[in-house]
């Protein structure tokens, strides 16, 4: 086993060596600018980009001409939301989203609120699921866009994209999905699901960082966007800037590998995730699964360990790379806004750990992680005043805490 063990695949993934291999010639040999129309260097770069574009578009059920390359999913989400909001502002200024979207969706929506747009944040239940009835009821004559993610980056819960797409299509409202965590991991089809805009990125699927894409539907309906970046009118005017040719080539190769291995990999990763969850459940009391037990990304497990604080837990498993919903791990002092929106108490939100398994995760690593976690949780509970109080039968909600 190699240490440290990487179990943070929902944050990013290593670039697959097979991807790196196909990228290399585009740095040193085929280094042309894909926008150079008058020499071979440019033509070759353009050819490589168009081939990648087709593969990306077709893999999600669309076409190459519907792909706009960006720097990553954050830019794709910004372009989709700000671009649609500006282009359709005469039609309406109402957007529907959810409170557990990634910040790359929530922040542009809030920026639009500052500019006079109206944003509805749908309710989510304990598992992070939205209500389709509430979604449909929230659509108004001035609604222009519904933005709901495919799979949640923290808790793994999947949205019912096909059902959402039926509703948005019925009401003539555009449907954007942030599919950053989902593309290459679960089957997605923009036609079958009536998705009009779809954000994704290479680095979550074993491609390079710094390259992403936005699918923009061309027909039935044709989606229009105002650009958010100007400077040459690349990507049919929607996103100016020289294309990252090696990145785009790697992106396509990465998706091709994910697509070809999707079924077997999903099955293998679900088994690893469940193996870890079952071990933890068998040997520890007061633990809680966050997110939907079945409708979730194959590679995500999020667990709260009651009466143990997340950052101290991560310190106790220092040779394993995971992420915590605890406030202490981030710049802000708030615990995870996603867990809060689910109604998870702040104490349990501070105690959550996200495990992300991936292509290179082994059963041996999972067993080591389970042993290490169980040991660390027990050790910290031995020094936890909360665990002691609970053992004594004290109801913590009745204690008069001195918050600071």
């Amino acid at each position: 086993m190699k240490f440290p063990i990487y179990l943070d695949y929902n944050a990013t993934a290593p670039t697959d060596p097979r991807v790196v291999e196909v990228m290399i010639p585009y740095f040193t040999q085929t280094y042309g600018n894909a926008a150079s129309r008058n020499h071979q260097f440019g033509w070759e770069a353009e050819q490589a980009v168009e081939k990648a574009r087709d593969l990306l578009g077709e893999t999600i059920g669309g076409g190459g001409r519907e792909i706009v390359f960006t720097s990553g999913a954050t830019e794709s989400n910004n372009l989709a939301i700000l671009g649609v909001a500006d282009f359709y502002k005469e039609k309406g200024r109402h957007i529907i989203t959810s409170p557990i979207e990634h910040k790359a969706v929530i922040d542009p929506c809030q920026a639009l609120e500052q500019r006079g747009y109206d944003v509805t944040f749908l309710d989510v239940d304990d598992d992070g699921c939205i209500s389709l009835e509430q979604l449909e009821k929230s659509i108004r004559p001035d609604t222009i866009l519904v933005s709901l993610m495919a799979g949640n980056n923290e808790i793994g819960t999947l949205n019912p994209l096909e059902e959402i797409g039926k509703i948005t299509r019925k009401h003539g409202v555009l449907f954007h999905t942030d599919a950053t965590q989902a593309v290459g991991k679960i089957p997605l089809d923009v036609e079958q699901m009536n998705i009009d805009l779809l954000s994704f990125t290479a680095h979550k699927m074993y491609g390079p960082k710094g390259v992403g894409a936005l699918y923009v539907r061309r027909k039935r309906p044709r989606v229009r966007l105002s650009p958010i970046m100007f400077g040459g009118g690349h990507e049919r005017g929607m996103r100016s800037g020289t294309l990252n040719v090696p990145g785009i080539v790697g992106f396509a190769k990465a998706l091709e590998l994910c697509r070809d291995e999707m079924e077997s990999e999903a099955e293998r990763q679900i088994a690893l995730r469940e193996r870890l969850h079952q071990r933890l459940q068998a040997e520890l009391d007061h633990i809680k699964l966050n997110g939907h037990p079945a409708q979730r990304l194959p590679n995500n497990l999020n667990v709260s360990f009651g009466y143990v604080e997340g950052e101290s837990l991560i310190m106790g498993i220092s040779d394993i790379a995971v992420s915590s919903g605890s406030a202490c791990t981030s710049a802000s002092l708030e615990p995870s806004y996603v867990l809060r929106a689910l109604g998870v108490g702040d104490d349990l939100a501070h105690s959550s750990i996200r495990f992300g398994v991936g292509r290179f995760t082994t059963e041996e690593e999972i067993d080591y992680t389970a042993d290490k976690m169980i040991f660390a949780v027990k050790r910290l509970r031995d020094m936890s005043p909360l665990y002691e109080m609970v053992q004594e039968g004290i109801d913590l909600s009745t204690v008069n805490w001195t918050s600071h």
Partner: protein, 134 residues
């Protein structure tokens, strides 16, 4: 986030973890913080003739909170109550090289010492022994 060596040392080998019987007249208990804030400290002192002869802690919190309370138990042992009351959070910050975002851990440890002493003194006023002699 990198931890100082001293924080890591206290985290890996916390001093004086445990509990005294709360009802013991010699014991003062301080419970500070709140679960929703991500840290709760329980610090207990055992007092003989105004002198702290033993101390124990239990902490729910990050590594710096655990280290701050572990250090606090080390420091109060052997001190008189008045000497222990003079311990400042800034001394804890300095000793453990806590970064600015972790200063609240040291504040909490100082609060825990003060709360434990206050609890002990309050118990002396109301304990049957002192009321019997009054």
């Amino acid at each position: 986030m990198a931890y100082s060596e001293k924080v890591i040392d206290h985290y890996n080998d916390p001093r004086n973890v445990g509990s005294f019987t709360k009802s013991d007249d010699q014991v003062g208990t301080g419970l500070v913080g709140a679960p929703e804030c991500g840290d709760v400290m329980k610090l207990q002192i055992k007092v003989e003739n105004e002198k702290i002869v033993d101390a124990k802690f239990k902490t729910f919190g990050c590594g710096s909170a655990i280290a701050s309370s572990s250090l606090a138990t080390e420091w109060v042992k052997g001190k008189t109550l008045d000497e222990a009351l003079a311990i400042q959070n800034t001394e804890i910050v300095e000793e453990l090289s806590l970064p600015p975002v972790k200063i609240h851990c040291s504040v909490l440890a100082e609060d825990a010492i003060k709360a434990a002493i206050q609890d002990y003194r309050k118990r002396q006023e109301t304990s049957p022994e002192s009321s019997a002699s009054a």
